[in-house]
Structure formats: structure tokens, C-alpha cells
């Protein structure tokens, strides 16, 4: 009977030691949970662009509703984007000074399906961003590349570079670069700079000649 008890204890110990499983997601810190995705039009030579203008607020996309806002975190993102655009050699101008690139920053809460799907996001782009804002009312946006379809039930932040330099000659506003941040704790003033830095660091082809 003693031996049976000892064997039972040994078996229980073996199972308790060996049957556990490490959960991948719960072992991530907030920083580690985030991913930074970039995509661009490979036919574009970014050194052909010299100037940019950035929208003065962030588009908040919630379902099929879109509003503009500028809270502390939004301002931190816009400041960071300016910093790293300048770092890439671009010069900021007003939108009335014929910028080569337009920069939009979007805070996506959810799309109309309740999930974030980037093809959906681009499908509604002219709804979120009236081309009139950039001085090209009536033009269509054109996306020459496509991300893998990611769908999640949480927020994301997207930064888009638009080719305004060639809009008039092509009758469309082409997206030439997109950076997307996803994961936990995105909308945070203190980490906005480092998150934007990650997007620009992995896109060295954005560098233009001063």
C-alpha cells in the first residue's frame, strides 16, 4: 500500500511537471506585443520627392464613421512623423505650397465589419480623407500594393504617404508608403516617438537627397 502511494505520488509529480504548457501571448510585454508593418510601391524612387505636408489632425476611423481629432497622443504621433520625415531628408511645407508628398495619420478603432481589414480601410480611404483636402477634389486614391489580410478586434495606427507630385498628371492620388502599428498600448504619448521610429528605421528606401 505504501508502495502504491509512492508510485501515485511519483506519477502525479511527473504529470504536474511535464504536462504544463507555456502560453505564447501571455509571455509578451506590452512592447513585445506590438508589430510594425510597412509596405511601399516598389516602382517609386523616393529621392524624387523633396517636400511633404502633414494633416493637422488624426482621422479616427470607427466603423463607417470618421472624425478628426487631436489629443495629446495624436499630437505626439504627428510630431514624431515630422521628426522622422525630416530625418529622411524631406522638408515640411504647408499644403498650399504644392507638397510632393501628403502624410495622413489614422487611428483605426474598427471597421464597419467590427474587424480591421486593411483592404476595407483602403476601400474607404476617400471617405476618411476627402481628396479635396489635398487640393485634388474628385480624384481617386490608388493603392499599388496590398498587405496580407490581418483581422483583429482592436485598434491600429496607420501612417500613409501620398504622391501629390504626380497627382495632376495621373488623375489619381497614389499611396506610395504605409506604416501600420498594431498591438497593445499603441495610443500612448510616451511611446509614440519610438513606435514611429520603428516604422522609419525599417524603411531606409524612404531617404531622399536634401
Amino acid at each position: 500500500m505504501k508502495k502504491t502511494g509512492a508510485l501515485l505520488a511519483a506519477a502525479a509529480l511527473i504529470l504536474s511537471l511535464g504536462a504544463c504548457q507555456k502560453d505564447a501571448v501571455s509571455n509578451l510585454s506590452t512592447e513585445e506585443s506590438r508589430i510594425y508593418i510597412t509596405d511601399h510601391d516598389s516602382t517609386v524612387n523616393f529621392s524624387s520627392y523633396k517636400t511633404y505636408s502633414i494633416s493637422d489632425s488624426v482621422a479616427v476611423i470607427d466603423g463607417n464613421q470618421s472624425t478628426k481629432q487631436l489629443d495629446e497622443a495624436d499630437a505626439a504621433y504627428i510630431t514624431a512623423v515630422k521628426k522622422y520625415m525630416d530625418g529622411m531628408g524631406y522638408t515640411q511645407v504647408t499644403k498650399n505650397d504644392n507638397p510632393d508628398l501628403g502624410v495622413d495619420v489614422s487611428h483605426i478603432i474598427k471597421t464597419s465589419t467590427g474587424l480591421i481589414s486593411y483592404p476595407d480601410y483602403w476601400g474607404y480611404y476617400d471617405y476618411y480623407y476627402d481628396p479635396y483636402y489635398w487640393g485634388y477634389g474628385g480624384y481617386d486614391y490608388y493603392v499599388p500594393y496590398a498587405y496580407d489580410v490581418y483581422t483583429v478586434r482592436e485598434g491600429a495606427l496607420s501612417i500613409d504617404l501620398l504622391d501629390l507630385k504626380n497627382a495632376a498628371s495621373t488623375n489619381k492620388i497614389k499611396l506610395v508608403w504605409t506604416g501600420v502599428i498594431r498591438g497593445e498600448g499603441i495610443f500612448n504619448t510616451s511611446t509614440a516617438d519610438s513606435q514611429v521610429k520603428a516604422l522609419f528605421d525599417q524603411s531606409p528606401y524612404l531617404k531622399t537627397n536634401d
Binding site: M1, K3, T4, L7, L8, A10, A11, A12, L13, I14, L15, L17, G18, A19, C20, Q21, K22, D23, A24, V25, N27, L28, E32, S33, R34, I35, Y36, I37, T38, D39, H40, D41, S42, Y145, Y147, D148, Y150, V152, R182, G183, E184, A198, D201, Q202, S203
Partner: protein, 209 residues
């Protein structure tokens, strides 16, 4: 997968509980072991470069004679690896910066045979074993907190092992088992081609009535 492990564990405990280890010369023997696994080859270089102490194995074998036994072997091993943040090229124009995590659970179920050259005699009884069967593989790869690759599939597994049985006493049919197994698992998914490993194990063996 978790339910499956609980069922295996509960079944083994029930069997143990229902049979006193009476050290009789029973022909049906059960062993239950704690496993520490070291990935090998491209499993180590591409997926998991750390050892895993989260595993167990067991077998139920019938003594054909005093040197040979054959039966069924099962096991479970959890592998986990988190790589530091890096930039991965997803296609020609798309990049992602992420902490990449691999989470792999392997559950082999095998036909198994054991040869004991000393015929079950002696204070330390060496053995060699072979096994072959199927391994249920639950593979998940994460970029940050997002699943990028996920698949549950079955793969062939072949196993060769060596070790020793150390009976509790001169006439005891129960004892401690210590050994190592080489597991060949030719896993073919997501561009990976093997989940082979060496598993070191320590546990107990005992006869069933």
C-alpha cells in the same frame, strides 16, 4: 490538445491507482517518465534553440519473454521560443518588425518494443527500445501577439532509446527508469522540415495485475 493530455494523464493515474505495485512477475508493465527535450538540427536552428522541461512520456508494454517486451508508447512535449525583435521581409515590398514566438506541442503515439539483454536481472538493467507511429503536432507561430502561422497536423515519428531500469529491490518488479530517446519527426509545414529531438527521461516503472 489540453483535453487530450488530461485524458492521457487521468488514464495513467487510474491504471496506477487500480493496481498495487506488488512486485509480482506481471507481464504487463507501465512506465511513466518526466521528459527534458533538446531539439536537434534545423528544429533547433530554425524554430526552438532551447531545451524544454515541459514533457512526459509513458508506455504500456507486454513482456513477450524475459528479454523482449512490446506495446504502446505515448508522450507530450511543449516547446516555446521567443526571439528578440527583428525585421522580417514578408514579401518583396512588405516588412514587419516583431518579436517572433514559436509555440509547438508534440504528442507522439507509437508502437514500441524493448530489449533487455540481461533478461530483467541485476540491480541495474540496461535496455534498448525502438518505436514508430504518429505524432500530433500543434504548431503556432506569432508575430507580436498575432498568430501568423498555425496548424495542427500529424507527422510520422520513429524513436530509438537506451537506458536503465533500477528495481526498488532484488525481487521487485517496480523501480526507477532513466534513459534517453532519439525522436525522428520529419515535419513538413511552413518551410520547416523536421522536429527531431533527443529526450532525456526519468520516471518509474511497475507491473500491472
Amino acid at each position: 490538445m489540453k483535453q487530450f493530455r488530461i485524458i492521457i494523464g487521468a488514464a495513467l493515474l487510474l491504471v496506477i491507482g487500480s493496481t498495487a505495485a506488488s512486485a509480482q512477475s506481471g507481464q504487463l508493465k507501465l512506465d511513466l517518465n518526466y521528459n527534458y527535450s533538446l531539439p536537434l538540427g534545423s528544429f533547433k536552428s530554425d524554430l526552438i534553440n532551447q531545451g524544454s522541461g515541459r514533457g512526459f512520456s509513458g508506455s504500456l508494454q507486454y513482456g513477450i519473454n524475459n528479454k523482449w517486451a512490446a506495446g504502446l508508447g505515448v508522450g507530450f512535449q511543449d516547446y516555446y521560443q521567443k526571439y528578440p525583435r527583428a525585421v522580417y521581409q514578408l514579401d518583396k515590398t512588405q516588412s514587419v518588425s516583431a518579436v517572433l514566438t514559436n509555440s509547438i506541442q508534440v504528442t507522439p503515439i507509437m508502437a514500441k518494443g524493448t530489449f533487455m539483454p540481461m533478461g530483467g536481472k541485476g540491480a541495474v538493467q540496461p535496455y534498448i527500445s525502438v518505436g514508430a507511429g504518429a505524432s500530433l503536432v500543434d504548431f503556432k507561430q506569432y508575430l507580436g501577439e498575432f498568430t501568423s502561422n498555425s496548424k495542427t497536423s500529424a507527422s510520422f515519428v520513429a524513436q530509438g532509446g537506451v537506458g536503465v531500469n533500477i528495481p526498488f529491490g532484488r525481487l521487485s518488479a517496480s523501480g526507477i527508469k532513466i534513459g534517453a530517446d532519439y525522436n525522428y519527426v520529419p515535419y513538413k509545414n511552413f518551410g520547416y522540415n523536421n522536429l527531431s529531438s533527443v529526450n532525456f527521461h526519468a520516471g518509474v516503472f511497475f507491473p500491472l495485475r
